[in-house]
């Protein structure tokens, strides 16, 4: 079953001389439960692709369809709500809210929706991520790896269909990288979610079900199975 689909997705920055084509006519399909790695050199447009897939930016042309909804036909507010419910994000620099504790950061998407927090689920999630002991710590009291684990928790809190991770281990040492990646995959596998990861790490990419390689805004390789 196809969870995510793009149609001629393009993004251009600037005008005239400074015009940059960050992404050109990308057509991708991602199935439910798939683990997709997006690879490419810096500035190749892979972040742009991820932002567009996740509804963070708006494309210059083309569509992104997630679970049957053309997400860029939604208003800003609707898009926000869509992100909150359907999409999880993990960033390179964790981007946790410094004033919230680990647990609160994780439950934030639920609180934003005024949804009753499923305590059992959150507890289980925190268990997998090894954060039970640290749930009342604030981000500045956590190590990089721990912070990234919190951000994985936040991305999964609403049980979204897709989790996007932008260089999730880019800021971590190899030991922590490995752990974070394994935990990310463990959790995604546990809840049968789709995972799209931008990475430089070929080791991580090699674990993926599919690798999308991108260069100068063009998808050059779309290798996969299933």
């Amino acid at each position: 079953m196809i969870t995510l689909k793009t149609e001629n997705l393009s993004k251009t920055y600037g005008k005239g001389d400074t015009k940059v084509d960050a992404l050109i006519d990308a057509n991708i399909e991602i199935k439910q439960g798939e683990f997709v790695a997006v690879v490419g050199p810096s500035g190749s447009g892979k972040s742009t692709l991820l932002h567009l897939l996740g509804g963070l930016d708006r494309p210059t042309s083309g569509k992104v369809i997630i679970d049957g909804t053309d997400i860029y036909s939604l208003s800003e507010k609707e898009l926000s709500i869509f992100r909150r419910r359907k999409v999880g994000f993990i960033f390179q620099f964790y981007n946790l809210i410094p004033v919230l504790s680990a647990e609160e950061n994780i439950t934030l998407p639920l609180l934003l929706d005024r949804k009753k927090v499923d305590k059992l689920y959150i507890d289980e999630l925190m268990g997998i991520l090894g954060l039970r002991e640290r749930k009342n710590h604030f981000p500045n009291q956590l190590s990089g790896g721990q912070q990234q684990r919190v951000s994985i928790g936040r991305a999964l809190a609403y049980k979204p269909s897709i989790v996007f991770a932008d260089e999730p281990t880019g800021n971590l040492d190899s030991k922590n990288s490995k752990e974070v990646m394994e935990l990310l995959r463990l959790s995604v596998q546990k809840y049968n979610q789709t995972l799209v990861v931008i990475t430089h790490d070929l080791d991580i990419a090699s674990q993926a079900d599919r690798i999308i390689a991108i260069e100068d805004g063009l998808i050059v390789k779309n290798l996969g199975v299933r």
């Binding site: 926000s80 992100r83 419910r85 960033f91």
Partner: protein, 864 residues
């Protein structure tokens, strides 16, 4: 955490220092608004009471009624209370004063606050209650129970006043028609009334029956004083009463002072000027407040752009972000509002308590009135300005793109325009200066906010200082020069009824502090027509005054005679205070045979009929004017050879002693020596006398009175406590106004510190990088300080410009009407400029310390 809205509290707690600073700003602002409101309300209440006490607690009065009409009014539906009085006539005392005999009812006595020092009011036909000071005028050691004889004459008050003030020095007594001799027993003594003292007409209350017997039942000499029932529709009430009496409303003479205070004047226009000023100043304060709050919230939003980006990325809607920011606003407001209101009221209480330590305080008897209306509207205005100013930051926060969360370098899209180098600045201030300049240019929005926040403080400061300045000017104006006593002559033809012996005599009286001796006479003054200003020419045409040369010269034919006066050393000191150009040095004037002139005039402007001050001519130091002491130039005289040609050595804004601004004349002031040379007169026309505190005023008055009696045109004016009161008013007002200015300055400084220091703290990482590439602490300091100073200079420039423009607006709106000339508020500009620079430097201290203590590695690694 129960809801995402709890984020609000977290953010506030997390940025405790900023929150406290914001709260402080809001408290100050609300306190200021509340204080001004409470002050105005208290002053208004006091003024109402004051108006009641001085002009009586009644709304309107109607004269010429008979007894029956008075009774009908008593039962009138629209009337709450009505009192009456009826004057029988006037009786002369042995000295140059009179007693007015009148009867009244008890309501009248309440309304006009007639209070007894001792005894009681008359109850029978043969009794009288007299004013305290009249007792001494009537005889030695009179007391309650003594009998007096009065010859009551049926004359009008005007006739009496003409005699008292020697309209015609040859008439020393009221022309007696047929006096009625009355034998009366003193039943009580009334407290003195300053007006009766000034008029020299004492009050004497008798029983109504006496008047009724003397004048008959249908005597239409009753005057009623009415208090209307509906306090919100007084004019309608007055109209109804007049209708019932079958007369025009214009027959009723309103207690205009009280009605004005109650806002129920017949002519609503009178209120406007005061209203405008109040609105304008409150508006400014609200604007300043709003700016401070706007800044505080704006900065706190800017600081968290990235976090809002994250929130947006995880699915926070713009509306929810706004809700978070507004939540912060609400909490700040909830904390600040009660504290602001409370401290505002407390501040007023404290200021008043301080001011009231002095006996003569202008604010004696002013009770702090806690008006619900004022508190509510202050709260409302405060809350509204807080919310309005948070509007833009909240929407800014809502508009943050989720991309911001991921982008580490936010300016990636905004490509720098052409890299510019500031060679000139590098030459003067070095590389650090150039860096500072570039930092300013870097983020236009932040630059704008910073400059704006400096501007607003400076602007409000300048406007308020200007306002304070003109308020004092106003006090120095018409009634500005008041001594305790004045010895004048009722003639102004140059007769000098006093001489230097008198001067010595006065000096010899115990308790005299200062004496100003002046001489004056009327003279014709002229100068070249080409010196007239266009504005003045227009006004002259409007008033039908001819601009005509004398003979074949180009000098203006004088329209009216002008006052030529001589001042002594003390007078010249006063003149120096209003000197616009030239000198008031006596020797210099003597040497040059020079004069000081006043070329500003107060006229009713033709375009709107408002009283205003205009500059009539462009005479400068070194120009010559002609002074004709015979005033012949106003007549047929065509020849300038026979009149005095005098050099202008100084230009005064206004006359420091006496009526400050002329209408169409050209007042000329000179030294006693020059005056003597011009006029040949050696005497003295008048004395203005100041006495020591605690001096025996009765005795001084007696002595001075004797001096005034030596000529029949001589006159002694007793200003009573007016001089002391005036001084105190000045002091009180200055404390009050400059208190406000100080609070405004404080708000401004707070704002500057807030903006500049955040500006710098936000850039810790950048500073770390700069340190890493080899910038020394010294260089960094220099760069930061230069940046601050540049901000200060630019802010001051804009703030000054805005301040001057707004001051000018305020001036046209309100002050001009009261008759003053516009002057650039240089002092305020200077203070604002220096203050801003100091505040800017002050605000770099904390960030500088941080930079110094900074660990470079940490700073660079810091996640912003």
């Amino acid at each position: 955490m129960k809801s995402y809205k709890d984020l609000t509290l977290r953010y506030l707690r997390n940025q405790l220092k900023r929150t406290l600073l914001t709260i402080l700003g809001v408290i100050l602002s609300i306190a200021l608004i509340t204080a001004i409101g409470t002050m105005l309300e208290s002053l208004k209440q006091q003024s109402i009471e004051e108006a009641m006490k001085s002009s009586g607690n009644f709304h309107t009065s109607i004269s010429g009624l008979n007894f029956e009409q008075i009774n009908v009014l008593n039962s009138h539906l629209y009337v709450e209370k009505s009192g009456f009085e009826v004057t029988g006539g006037f009786a002369k005392t042995p000295k140059n004063s009179y007693v007015r005999l009148f009867a009244s009812n008890s309501v009248y006595q309440q309304m006009l606050y007639i209070s007894l020092a001792e005894g009681r009011l008359p109850q029978t036909k043969g009794e009288i209650a007299l004013e305290k000071w009249a007792l001494r005028e009537l005889g030695e050691d009179l007391k309650v129970g003594d009998s007096i004889t009065l010859d009551m004459m049926d004359v009008s008050e005007d006739e009496v006043l003409d005699v008292v003030f020697k309209k015609n020095p040859d008439v020393t007594e009221v022309q007696n028609k047929e006096a009625v001799r009355l034998e009366l027993t003193i039943s009580g003594v009334l407290e003195n009334n300053s007006e009766s003292r000034l008029k020299s007409i004492a009050r004497g209350i008798v029983a109504p029956e006496l008047i009724e017997e003397l004048k008959g039942k249908s005597f239409a000499g009753y005057k009623t004083y009415i208090l209307i029932k509906d306090k919100k529709a007084i004019q309608e009430g007055i109209g109804e009463v007049c209708k019932s009496l079958g007369m025009e409303k214009s027959n009723a003479k309103d207690n205009s002072r009280l009605l004005y205070m109650l806002g129920q004047s017949r002519d609503k226009q009178t209120n406007d000027s005061v209203l405008y000023v109040t609105i304008f100043l409150t508006g400014l304060i609200v604007a300043a407040t709003a700016a401070v709050i706007y800044n505080a919230f704006h900065i706190s939003v800017l600081e968290r752009i990235k976090q809002f980006g994250v929130l947006r990325a995880v699915g926070t809607t713009p509306g929810q972000i706004r809700a978070i920011v507004f939540g912060e606003v609400l909490i700040v407001l909830l904390i600040s509002l009660p504290l602001g209101l409370l401290s505002g009221v407390l501040a007023v209480k404290m200021v008043l308590a301080l001011l009231n330590l002095s006996r003569h305080s202008f604010f004696i008897g002013v009770n702090v009135v806690l008006s619900g209306k004022v508190l509510a509207s202050s709260a409302l205005v405060g809350a509204a300005s807080v919310f309005l100013s948070a509007l833009s930051p909240a929407f800014l926060a809502g508009r943050v793109s989720p991309i911001e969360a991921i982008m580490n370098n936010r300016s990636h899209k905004r490509l720098m325009k052409k890299p510019k180098s500031y060679k000139l600045i590098r030459g003067i201030l070095g590389v650090e200066g150039e860096m500072a300049c570039k930092n300013l240019k870097r983020n236009q929005k932040r630059f704008f906010i910073t400059v704006f926040s400096m501007c607003i403080g400076i602007t409000v400061f300048i406007v308020f200082s200007t306002f304070a300045h003109y308020t004092f000017e106003g006090l120095h104006g018409k009634d500005g020069f008041i001594g305790d006593y004045g010895l004048y002559s009722t003639k102004d033809d140059g007769t000098q009824i006093y001489d230097y012996k008198d001067y010595e005599a006065i000096k010899g009286i115990e308790g005299i502090k200062e004496i100003y001796k002046t001489s004056h006479m009327q003279a014709a003054v002229t100068y070249s027509i080409s010196k007239l200003t266009d504005e003045y020419k227009r006004e002259m045409e409007h008033y039908g005054l001819e601009i005509k040369p004398i003979g074949n010269t180009d000098n203006l034919k004088p329209i009216t005679s002008s006052l030529l006066s001589s001042y002594d050393e003390k007078g010249m000191e006063r003149a120096r205070e209003v000197l616009q150009d030239g000198t008031t040095d006596i020797e210099a004037i003597n040497r040059e045979m020079g004069v000081l002139i006043v070329q500003n005039k107060e006229i009713n402007r033709s375009k709107d009929g408002k009283q205003s001050i205009i500059k009539a001519s462009n005479l400068r130091v070194g120009d010559y004017i002609y002074v004709d002491i015979t005033s012949g130039l106003m007549g047929e005289k065509q020849d300038l050879n026979s009149v005095q040609k005098l050099k202008v050595v100084g230009v005064l804004d206004k006359l420091p002693i006496g009526e400050p601004y002329p209408k169409f004349s050209v007042p000329v002031v000179t030294t006693e020596e020059v005056y003597r040379k011009i006029t040949g007169k050696t005497g003295i026309s008048s004395f203005d006398i100041f006495v020591e505190k605690g001096a025996n005023k009765e005795k001084i008055r007696e002595e001075l009175f004797k001096l005034s009696e030596k000529d029949k045109s001589g006159m002694l004016v007793d200003f009573g406590e007016m001089a002391a009161e005036l001084n105190q008013i000045k002091l009180s007002l200055s404390v009050l106004l400059y208190g406000f200015v100080a609070v405004i300055a404080l708000i401004g400084v707070l704002n500057i510190i807030n903006t500049i220091s955040t500006n710098l703290i936000l850039r810790t990482r950048e500073f770390g990088t700069q340190r890493a590439v080899g910038m020394t602490i010294g260089q960094m300091k220099k760069m930061i300080v230069t940046e601050g100073v540049l901000y200060g200079v630019i802010g001051t420039l804009w703030g000054t410009a805005a301040g001057v423009v707004l001051s000018r607006v305020l001036f046209t709106l309100a002050i001009q009407v009261r008759g003053m000339l516009w002057k650039l508020p240089m002092d305020a500009i200077a203070i604002a400029g220096i203050g801003t620079l100091l505040a800017t430097l002050l605000s770099t201290i904390v960030p500088l310390k941080r930079v110094e203590a900074m660990n470079i590695i940490e700073a660079i690694g810091r996640e912003e």
